[in-house]
């Protein structure tokens, strides 16, 4: 055992940077069994009774909302399981609803029971913890996050909450081009289909295309960028020349050229979107890798005998994640816009499958007389992309400067 005699630092060190993240009970009053029981029956009310208004209201209102949805679509839920076949997305929707209810209920109990009593634990304060703290303080970004979560929840719950079947054409004469009313909040289109339901179903297409395409781009881009940045010299030159070449081409035109020449299907759209969007990610990752390469912990990993693959995967890539996450979030918004443009031109999702883009195209003919067909899908796009942009901006603020220590 080696102890330096004159070791001034021998006492256990205090955290050097920032606040102590693991403060224990936060000065809360102790929680009684009665509070827990009340929360088990009515999530949120346990908090309200103890005087924690904000948290309590949040739990109570979300619980009420989800429960309300469940009541309204009660027969639909039975329809999912009672019919001759059990449709997969129906099950998914019911499952999502159940999961959401469970999360709210469990979250309220957890907050009361566990967090109130946890002793002061000395856990390390990771970079992610720091970033989360800063993110939470940025209200607008949190709003963006909430909207995004709501959107994804809606896409999963659509089979339950859409009032009409999106493909159901009503009586052509009677029900077409109806203006917005209580029964059809967003009116009907040329075939008598309910625009609101179609907007909801369109959200599934747009959001999932956005997610998968960006995921593909990130995978390809991260691979290319990290290999180019790490191995340098010829690999770097060749890969970056290729990337520049791909970047030189206006993305939309390349997409149009490719999709128009083949059969436009959803899979093709997703894959081509993914294959044309990785370049910026590659540049970002390469830049980060280049700056990381000169950081001594990478050299240390080398001198400690770690293989290149291990260094790239465990040391370099996790440290490049921050700007990639920001870019990916903003990228989902951009991808949704591009997909809408493609569908508008007839090169994306084909009718009758509803996509916000092709709905806007449908409404073009009747723009003056039935403005609602084109307007509402566009509004949906604006709201969705705005949410992603807000979220992305918030992530950028929270992630970037803090992680340079």
């Amino acid at each position: 055992m080696v102890h330096s005699q004159t070791d001034l630092e021998f006492s256990p060190p205090e955290p050097v940077a920032g606040e102590d993240p693991t403060a224990g009970t936060k000065g809360r009053t102790p929680v009684s069994g009665g509070h827990l029981a009340l929360s088990a029956v009515l999530p949120g009310f346990g908090h309200l009774v103890r005087g924690e208004w904000v948290v309590g209201m949040v739990f109570a209102l979300t619980w009420a909302a989800f429960l309300g949805v469940a009541f309204i679509v009660w027969d639909r839920i039975f329809g999912v399981f009672g019919g001759p076949r059990t449709p997969f997305d129906g099950v998914l929707a019911v499952g999502t609803l159940g999961a959401l209810l469970l999360v709210v209920w469990g979250g309220a109990l957890y907050d009361l029971a566990v967090r109130a009593k946890r002793p002061v634990k000395r856990y390390g304060d990771s970079q992610w913890a720091i970033a989360t703290r800063h993110f939470r303080r940025n209200r607008i970004a949190v709003a963006g996050l909430v909207v995004m979560l709501v959107l994804y929840a809606v896409t999963l719950l659509t089979p339950l909450i859409a009032p009409f079947d999106p493909a159901a054409q009503g009586d052509i004469v009677q029900t077409r081009y109806l203006s917005p009313s209580f029964e059809h909040p967003m009116g009907t289109d040329k075939f008598g289909r309910d625009v609101y339901s179609r907007v909801l179903y369109g959200s599934r297409i747009s959001l999932s295309i956005g997610f998968v395409a960006v995921g593909l781009s990130v995978l390809i881009g991260a691979a290319v960028g990290s290999v180019a940045g790490y191995f340098g010299r010829w690999t770097d030159t060749v890969l970056m020349r290729f990337t520049d070449m791909m970047l030189s081409f206006p993305r939309l035109i390349l997409l149009i050229v490719t999709i128009a020449l083949f059969e436009p299907t959803i899979w093709l759209v997703v894959i081509v979107l993914g294959l044309t969007g990785w370049m910026s990610v590659a540049r970002i990752v390469r830049g980060e890798v280049l700056s990381l390469r000169s950081r001594e912990f990478i050299q240390a990993a080398k001198v400690l005998g770690m293989s290149d693959a291990r260094i790239i995967l465990r040391h370099i890539l996790p440290n490049t994640l921050a700007p990639v996450i920001v870019y990916a979030t903003l990228g989902i918004g951009t991808t949704i816009l591009i997909e809408a443009t493609l569908s508008f031109l007839g090169l994306g999702v084909q009718p009758p499958t509803p996509s916000w883009g092709n709905m806007i195209a449908d409404g073009r003919d009747a723009l003056l007389t039935a403005w609602w067909i084109s307007t509402f899908p566009g509004l949906a796009i604006v709201i969705t992309v705005t949410a992603f942009n807000l979220l992305g901006d918030g992530l950028r603020d929270a992630l970037d400067p803090r992680l340079r220590t």
């Binding site: 055992m1 256990p12 000395r122 304060d125 990771s126 950081r295 400690l304 770690m306 220590t405």
Partner: protein
């Protein structure tokens, strides 16, 4: 010849060796007096000497050049000669301090020796095996026996891994311990360097500079090496903390029988811990001797200047400083002959110094110096 006691502006006027009347601090080129016959090139160089049988590390004529590309076609126009012929050896259990100004190539030397960079030429033998021709497996085994401690405590640790995870990874990669045994070993390592086992769950940014340096040392110790190259390990730390870390390194050396190559730019730092000291200038070793010999009897004008700059903690003590004229020349374009001659204050400096590259010669009793004006026998 005894040591020259330097003064800030020293002029020598001795008969026909009078130097012209130029202000020595202006940096202007002083024309050199005609060559004399007292240049002494005798003495065996480290390359002539057989390294002792228990030498853990032998470096022979190590060279590392970085090519310079200029112009439209990125032509190879020259080289930055970072390391220009380094030869020395390290016995098992001893500490050699490698000292020099910034840019003299000592860090590059350290990295090249462990093959973190590929050398341009030369040979390094670790425990008799040639390092530069090792294949991947032998290199892997070398990594277990020779390690490196980095200069910057702030960037030498992965900010996303807890300290414990970083150490655990080393143990996993070299298959030294797993699971609970690994956890225990991590705790041991942390306590060895003066931290406590609970610190394993913390992240690097939660520690101070000195503590991070200790973690770096723990990480190097994790593989149980025989040799550790310490690259300016205390340069980034406060003075009070420097002493603690150096003491830690010494204690570790005693306990685990380690061999150190201690790279630093500060002679006072190196004095405490070294058995021998080597002084580098522009990629070459210009003086190497036992620690006491260097500090009591520095033969090279450069070493003398460096030593005169070391502060002495005695109030009222007047230092007689030798101030070197001019700037360090660029390693891409070293001066002809002796690389130090434009700044040298040796009274016998003449035109020979500009023509002859002085060999690192044994001036007596194992005290090597690269100066042709220092005669054989000066070190006895």
């Amino acid at each position: 010849m005894s040591i020259i006691e330097g003064q800030a502006s020293r002029r020598v006027a001795q008969g026909d060796r009078a130097l012209p009347d130029v202000d020595p601090l202006s940096g202007a080129d002083i024309p050199l007096p005609p060559p004399k016959g007292d240049s002494d090139l005798r003495g065996s160089t480290p390359d002539d000497v057989e390294p002792p049988a228990d030498a853990l590390l032998v470096v022979r004529d190590l060279k590392k050049y970085f090519p310079i590309h200029k112009g439209f076609f990125s032509r190879h126009v020259g080289d930055v000669k970072a390391v220009d012929g380094l030869s020395f050896f390290l016995r098992k259990g001893e500490t050699v301090g490698l000292v020099g100004e910034s840019g003299c190539g000592k860090t590059t030397a350290g990295r090249t020796i462990l093959r973190m960079e590929e050398a341009t030429s030369g040979e390094v033998l670790f425990d008799g095996k040639k390092v530069f021709t090792m294949d991947r497996h032998d290199l892997r085994r070398l990594r277990r026996r020779a390690q490196y401690v980095f200069q910057d405590p702030f960037s030498s640790l992965n900010p996303r891994l807890t300290v414990g995870d970083a150490l655990r990874e080393v143990l996993t990669v070299h298959r030294l311990a797993r699971g609970d045994a690994a956890q225990r070993r991590i705790g041991e390592l942390l306590e060895i360097v003066g931290l406590s086992a609970e610190h394993g769950v913390r992240y690097p940014h939660e520690f101070s500079g000195g503590q991070r340096q200790r973690i770096g040392i723990a990480r190097a110790l994790a593989v149980e090496p025989d040799l550790i190259i310490c690259d300016e390990p205390v340069s980034a730390l406060d003075v009070s903390v420097q002493a603690q870390v150096i003491n830690l390194l010494q204690d570790l050396q005693d306990e685990f029988h380690l061999t150190y190559l201690f790279i630093a730019h500060d002679l006072s730092v190196v004095e405490h811990i070294s058995d021998r000291v080597a002084v580098m200038y522009l990629g070459r070793i210009v003086e190497i001797a036992d620690r006491d010999d260097i500090y009591r009897n520095p033969l090279m004008p450069y070493t003398q200047a460096l030593l005169s700059a070391v502060p002495v903690a005695r109030p009222g003590h007047k230092r007689e400083r030798i101030v070197l004229r001019g700037d360090v020349p660029s390693p891409a374009n070293p001066p002809s002959g002796c690389p130090f001659h434009p700044r040298c204050h040796h009274p016998l400096k003449d035109a020979d110094c500009a023509k002859i590259v002085p060999p690192l010669a044994d001036k007596g009793g194992g005290h090597f110096a690269a100066c042709i004006k220092v005669p054989l026998g000066s070190a006895d």
